[in-house]
């Protein structure tokens, strides 16, 4: 926030520091261990009275000088230069707090330079003892340099009590100081052996070569014990939360951890191999390879150490993007642009989204993410997101990615940053126009003669808004399966609900009669549900044209496999169903029509990449579906993507129980509703009702617009009845938390309720059982005084609107009012009165059956009693 940011683009993401630092640190460790190697080998030469060994030491010292003094020292200066460019804020903290540590290290560096020059060039002029003493002085100075730098570097990882007292000594002798010192000393000795091999394998005399190669190999083998011990010590010295993050929560670290373990073994085995007598050319090549492996080894360790600091550059003090932890809330309130000294634009506007987005990127992201570079390239990481999706991800970036700093900006700044990345860099856009819908040319109202017809046939589905998932080769969450209901009423003075000696058949619009040609559900059903299902029939065996099953009050046909894909192509989420009631002789008693709402408009691709599968407006593409599995794998440690790729699609409910489908899950994971709402609420909650329509097919500008009933016309939002996404999720999660599922608490941690003051006030509920009740607002069926309800749910499934009856216990609420989300009078986007055909058929008005005192639909005599529910004998209020 304090300094300008160098616009590195492809060189961002820590590439520069990685290149310079890994190389420098490798050489710097060699510079320490190599010093000891020189003097001990010289001692050996004198002890064995072997001038050839002394000659080897002399040559190795020259090589050592060239490598460490030039490449080592200069890249050391390079690190200073680089960190000051990449993170001046953090550099300033290190300089100002440890200036005398650095200055002391400088003294030792000066000693190193002078002593190594003297050592390398005075084999002939100094007496043995003094010459060796010069070597020891060099090694002592080099190790002291390591001692000091080690304190400052590990301060960044584990600052310990410095956070509270800002004392030099607390920061320097931090919790990982000693294990890191031993660890690095062991590394230094191993690297001394590696470089020793490089020169020893080039000796022409085979005996001397073999003798010295075996000697160098000891430097790989003996310090290995120290390395193992100090690695273990280093690991347990890390604060537990840091250990968890490095070794469990950061899958990005895994390759480096694996690499470190693997290369440890390779170097040890390499040491053993080199102890065997090998031909010169082979040992030379092996030595070169091992030196390269040593560099990779160092790189792995440095990446783990640097990565372990995330999301901080100085743990618990300064985030990677230079924002101080203590300043985070203030920055959030004021905004990054206003807080940053080096931002010309101080406010996001519609016109400057790209430029402010880029500024925000430079300020907040560039220190770790390159643009198109080889390290931490932001483009592939964000390619799946549209600006809207990314905005939500950015706002909660730290919640499931603990190595990411929390977003420090305002919501508008998140929007601008997301726009810059998703559109500016990746070229993805959110739809700017509503999806164009071609309404049906004509909505035919079935015939009904009020004078002569004896029967009224009412039909509905139990859900007015229903989605299915159609990427079953990858995974399945919502199988095709609409539940159709019907009631046949015999008109009369006392009308009668008829279920005996009659038959009600249903017939899908022929354009939708062969769903198996449109989706792959039937091919994958055996793998998903363990049973083969006949094409074009549903999970319960019902076909799309058939006879309904009679119940006590109504008829039903369960799990009809209706899909929104007509035979001619395209997307139509309201397939037509014709119902016909006949008596035992086959005489038609009544006919009516209803729609089967079924949508595949789940906006997963907004955040998970891919495109719509069908007609640019609906359907889950395989890419999107696989990307979702990849995210699941990354965050939950599963391998579902691999499972699906190997031909075994994933049934979500196999682990996540779902009472809607009667699936128990594995009992350990959250139920489906709690899991999916709980996870996504963490990202989407700030979007209000738009959060709901990101996944549910209810958006006003979408291709389905399934929220189309009277409440929609009255401009109620999803949140009026369901609460915000956080409220909704919390109510589900609390029930799971009470059931002892730990994951619930994790998902709840950052969710804040909107409808109540505190999470404690949220009433736990079960999905598909405890739902908002109409009577919460329509108290006693009267005109509502409020249009918001929360925390008050149906007690059981029987109390759900779709299962309830009127006061007489004979008529289903849905029969007269239609299904939830499509309550009469509904406005269907594919034909204004598509949902209203039954009220228009029976009473020539789109209002609930019997409204406007329309008792004559069923009653052949005037009625003055509110026998179905109170307040019904009135003119419909919202005409």
């Amino acid at each position: 926030m304090n300094y300008p940011v160098l616009n590195l683009d492809v060189f961002g993401g820590g590439l520069l520091i990685a290149l310079i630092a890994v190389f420098h640190v490798y050489i710097a460790h060699f510079a320490v261990g190599g010093g000891l190697f020189l003097v001990l080998t010289e001692h050996k030469g004198y002890r064995e009275q072997n001038p050839a060994i002394i000659e080897y030491v002399r040559r190795h010292a020259k090589f050592f000088l060239l490598v460490t003094m030039v490449a080592g020292s200069m890249t050391g200066v390079g690190i200073w230069f680089t960190i000051a460019l990449l993170n001046p804020g953090a550099t300033s903290v290190l300089i100002h707090n440890f200036v005398f540590g650095w200055a002391t290290e400088w003294v030792f560096f000066l000693l190193e330079i002078i002593s190594i020059f003297i050592y390398a060039y005075t084999f002939d002029s100094l007496d043995r003892r003094t010459h060796l003493l010069m070597g020891w002085i060099y090694f002592g100075a080099a190790w002291m340099s390591l001692f000091i730098i080690n304190g400052i570097i590990d301060f960044m990882l584990t600052p310990g009590n410095w956070i509270e007292n800002h004392s030099f000594w607390s920061g320097f002798f931090n919790p990982t100081f000693w294990p890191a010192l031993f660890f690095r000393t062991a590394l230094a000795l191993i690297f001394a052996g590696l470089f020793g091999l490089l020169t020893a394998t080039r000796i022409k005399n085979p005996e001397l070569r073999h003798h010295l190669v075996r000697y160098c190999a000891l430097y790989l083998l003996i310090p290995f014990v120290l390395l193992l011990g100090s690695t273990w010590w280093y690991k347990i010295a890390l604060p537990p939360e840091l250990r968890t993050m490095i070794f469990q929560l950061m899958p990005e670290m895994q390759p480096y951890i694996t690499g470190f373990i693997l290369f440890s073994a390779v170097l040890f085995l390499g040491g053993l191999l080199m102890a065997i007598r090998l031909p010169r050319c082979m040992s030379c090549s092996a030595a070169v390879i091992m030196v390269v492996i040593g560099l990779l080894y160092m790189g792995c360790f440095e990446f783990i150490r640097e990565g372990g600091r995330r999301p901080y550059i100085i743990r618990n003090y300064m985030y990677s993007n230079s924002i101080l932890k203590q300043d985070l809330q203030a920055v959030r309130q004021q905004g990054v642009l206003k807080t940053a000294k080096w931002s010309r634009e101080k406010r996001v506007t519609r016109d400057n989204r790209l430029t402010t987005g880029k500024t925000l990127y430079n300020l907040l992201c560039l220190s770790c993410h390159s643009i198109g570079g080889p390290l931490n390239d932001i483009k592939p990481m964000t390619k799946n997101f549209t600006p809207w999706g990314l905005e939500n991800m950015i706002g909660a970036i730290d919640r499931f990615h603990p190595y990411m700093p929390p977003f420090a900006g305002t919501r508008l700044e998140a929007k601008a940053l997301a726009y810059y990345i998703a559109f500016g860099l990746n070229g993805r856009q959110d739809p700017s126009e509503p999806v164009a819908i071609q309404p049906l040319a004509e909505v035919k109202i079935p015939a009904f003669n009020r004078e002569t017809d004896t029967y009224v046939l009412l039909a509905w589905t139990d859900m007015g808004m229903q989605a299915i998932t159609d990427a079953s080769r990858s995974w399945m969450m919502l199988p095709p399966g609409a539940n159709l209901h019907a009631q046949l009423i015999k008109r009369g003075e006392i009308p009668e609900v008829v279920t005996e000696n009659v038959q009600i058949s249903y017939k899908i619009d022929p354009a939708f009669a062969h769903p198996a040609a449109a989706i792959e559900f039937w091919q994958n059903a055996p793998l998903l549900y363990g049973k083969k299902i006949k094409p074009d029939t549903g999970l319960s065996g019902n076909p799309l044209t058939g006879t309904m099953k009679a119940g006590e009050l109504d008829f039903s046909a369960d799990l009809l496999p209706v899909v929104p894909y007509p035979a001619g192509g395209g997307y139509m989420p309201y397939p037509d169903m014709t119902l016909t009631a006949t008596d035992t002789t086959g005489k038609v008693l009544a006919t009516t029509k209803t729609v089967i709402p079924v949508a595949t408009e789940m906006g997963c691709s907004t955040c998970h990449g891919g495109q719509w599968r069908v007609d640019g407006r609906a359907g889950l593409s395989r890419t999107t579906a696989d990307n979702i599995l990849a995210v699941h794998d990354r965050l939950s440690g599963t391998d579902l993507k691999q499972q699906a790729a190997s031909g075994r699609p994933v049934l979500c409910q196999q682990c996540h129980g779902d009472s809607r489908f009667g699936l128990q899950g594995n009992g350990r994971q959250l139920n489906m509703s709690a899991s999916i709402h709980g996870f996504h609420a963490n990202f989407l909650d700030p979007q209000g009702a738009d959060a709901c329509t990101a996944c549910h097919p209810a958006a006003d500008n979408g291709a389905s617009r399934s929220f189309r009933g009277i409440h929609h016309t009255l401009e109620l939002k999803c949140t009026n009845c369901h609460g915000s996404l956080a409220d909704h999720a919390l109510s589900l999660l609390k029930a799971e938390q009470a059931a002892g599922k730990k994951r619930a608490s994790v998902l709840m941690e950052n969710l804040k309720p909107e409808m109540v003051a505190d999470v404690a006030e949220i009433i736990p509920r079960q999905p598909w059982v405890n739902e908002p009740d109409c009577l919460n607002c329509h108290v006693d069926f009267q005109t509502p005084e409020d249009d918001i309800t929360f925390n008050k749910y149906t007690k059981n499934e029987a109390a759900l609107f779709r299962n309830r009856t009127d006061a007489s216990g004979q008529l289903r609420c849905s029969g007269c009012h239609n299904a939830t989300h499509a309550l009469y009078p509904a406005v269907n986007p594919y034909g204004r009165n598509l949902d209203n055909r039954q009220p228009l058929q029976y009473q020539n008005a789109p209002f609930p059956i019997g409204s406007n005192k329309g008792c004559a639909v069923c009653h052949t005599v005037p009625m003055d009693e509110e026998m179905h529910h109170p307040n019904m004998l009135h003119t419909f209020r919202n005409q």
């Binding site: 304090n2 300094y3 300008p4 940011v5 160098l6 616009n7 590195l8 520069l16 310079i20 060239l66 003094m69 030039v70 490449a71 020292s73 200069m74 890249t75 200066v77 390079g78 200073w80 230069f81 680089t82 000051a84 460019l85 001046p88 804020g89 550099t91 300033s92 300089i95 100002h96 440890f98 200036v99 005398f100 540590g101 650095w102 200055a103 002391t104 400088w106 003294v107 030792f108 560096f109 000066l110 000693l111 330079i113 002078i114 020059f117 003297i118 005075t122 002939d124 002029s125 100094l126 007496d127 003094t130 002085i137 800002h166 004392s167 030099f168 000294k341 080096w342 010309r344 430079n362």
Partner: protein, 360 residues
């Protein structure tokens, strides 16, 4: 845009700013001595190879031997002032470094090139001819480039009003070329390096002469001539530099302006006397006067920086974080012990070399 709003907020310092000012001045003085010697020697060597078809002279052979040491020492002695300048002026120099980031970073690469090239020049001197000019030239041009970038950074940090250019060019390719002092300042420093390099040659041969070597007189004169010539040129460059300073920047009636003027005059006097001594081929008095001149000029440079930054910042404004004395003491003790040890090592090594020389 008000440039003052761009200046970052500085961090706290562990002990009073005066200590850091003393350490900065002192270590920069040591650095400039080593740096001038290094750069001056390589420039003289290159000019010689360039102008005499790569003929070898004892002086270039000696330069080739000493150059790697000089680079190592100059770099090492540059670390300390760079450290202390960050303590006092980090919030200025970090900004200027970012603004010219690409050039600033290229210094590392240039340094490695210069260093390895110097080693090749040293190790292969005898076996090369054209290579002498090439390798010494690569080292020289690399070091001259580094010097140019350093001059840019050290002046860019003094001009917050020019920092707003960042908003048009945030790619690290900004320099401070709009500053009329940059060229005379750079040339002034480089020419002083030639002068110091020349006197360094004189001193080396004076020492050799004292050890009984013959044929040193020619090279003592050779070095003195370089020193005197370069310093005379530098008078002109210095006045150009002085004249290019913004009007009103130095007000002799103020404390800072007064001290600036005083030390500048003292530097002028000692420099004139040094030139006279050099023209009389008396390198030791010339060296003493040169050391004084350089010291005064280092002080002049510090006061110039203070004057430039006066509208924006003064180190007096820095706040102190308590508890910094014990690490300071540790540093001082290490420094003193280190110097004693270095003294002993050099003495022992030289004694052994003399002994060996006497034997042979």
């Amino acid at each position: 845009m008000d440039a003052a709003t761009l200046i970052p907020t500085p961090d706290q310092i562990p002990v009073g700013w005066g200590w850091f000012q003393v350490l900065l001045t002192l270590t920069f003085y040591l650095h400039v001595l080593a740096m001038d010697t290094m750069l001056g020697l390589v420039i003289i060597a290159f000019i010689h190879h360039f102008s005499s078809e790569n003929k070898s002279l004892p002086v270039t052979r000696e330069i080739s031997k000493k150059l790697p040491y000089a680079i190592a020492l100059a770099v090492n002695l540059g670390i300390a002032p760079l450290l202390f300048v960050q303590v006092l002026y980090g919030h200025f120099i970090y900004v200027s470094s970012v603004l010219m980031g690409v050039f600033w970073l290229s210094i590392v690469l240039l340094l490695i090139v210069a260093y390895y090239s110097a080693y090749i020049y040293s190790y292969r001197y005898q076996s090369m001819r054209a290579g002498r000019m090439v390798t010494s030239g690569i080292t020289m041009f690399s070091l001259l480039s580094i010097a140019f970038f350093l001059s840019n950074n050290m002046t860019l940090m003094l001009h917050p009003e020019s920092w707003v250019r960042y908003f048009e060019h945030s790619d690290g390719f900004l320099l401070n070329l709009g500053d009329p002092t940059i060229i005379p300042r750079y040339l002034h420093f480089v020419t002083s390096a030639v002068a110091v390099g020349g006197l360094g040659i004189s001193l080396f041969y004076t020492y050799r002469s004292s050890r009984g070597h013959e044929g040193c007189t020619r090279w003592i004169r050779y070095g003195c001539n370089w020193f005197a010539g370069a310093t005379i040129v530098n008078f002109a460059l210095g006045f150009w530099f002085l004249g290019a300073l913004p009007e009103g920047l130095i007000k002799p009636v103020t404390l800072v302006g007064g001290l600036f003027s005083l030390f500048l005059i003292m530097a002028l006097i000692t420099a004139i006397l040094a030139v006279i001594a050099a023209m009389r081929y008396r390198p030791l008095p010339a060296a003493g006067l040169l050391l004084a001149t350089l010291f005064f000029m280092v002080l002049v440079r510090e006061f110039l920086r203070v004057s430039y930054l006066k509208p924006w910042f003064s180190p007096v404004e820095l706040t102190v974080q308590p508890g910094g004395w014990s690490p300071f003491l540790l540093f001082l003790l290490s420094f003193i012990a280190g110097l004693i040890l270095i003294g002993w090592m050099l003495k022992t090594t030289l004694a052994a070399a003399h002994k060996k020389e006497a034997r042979s």
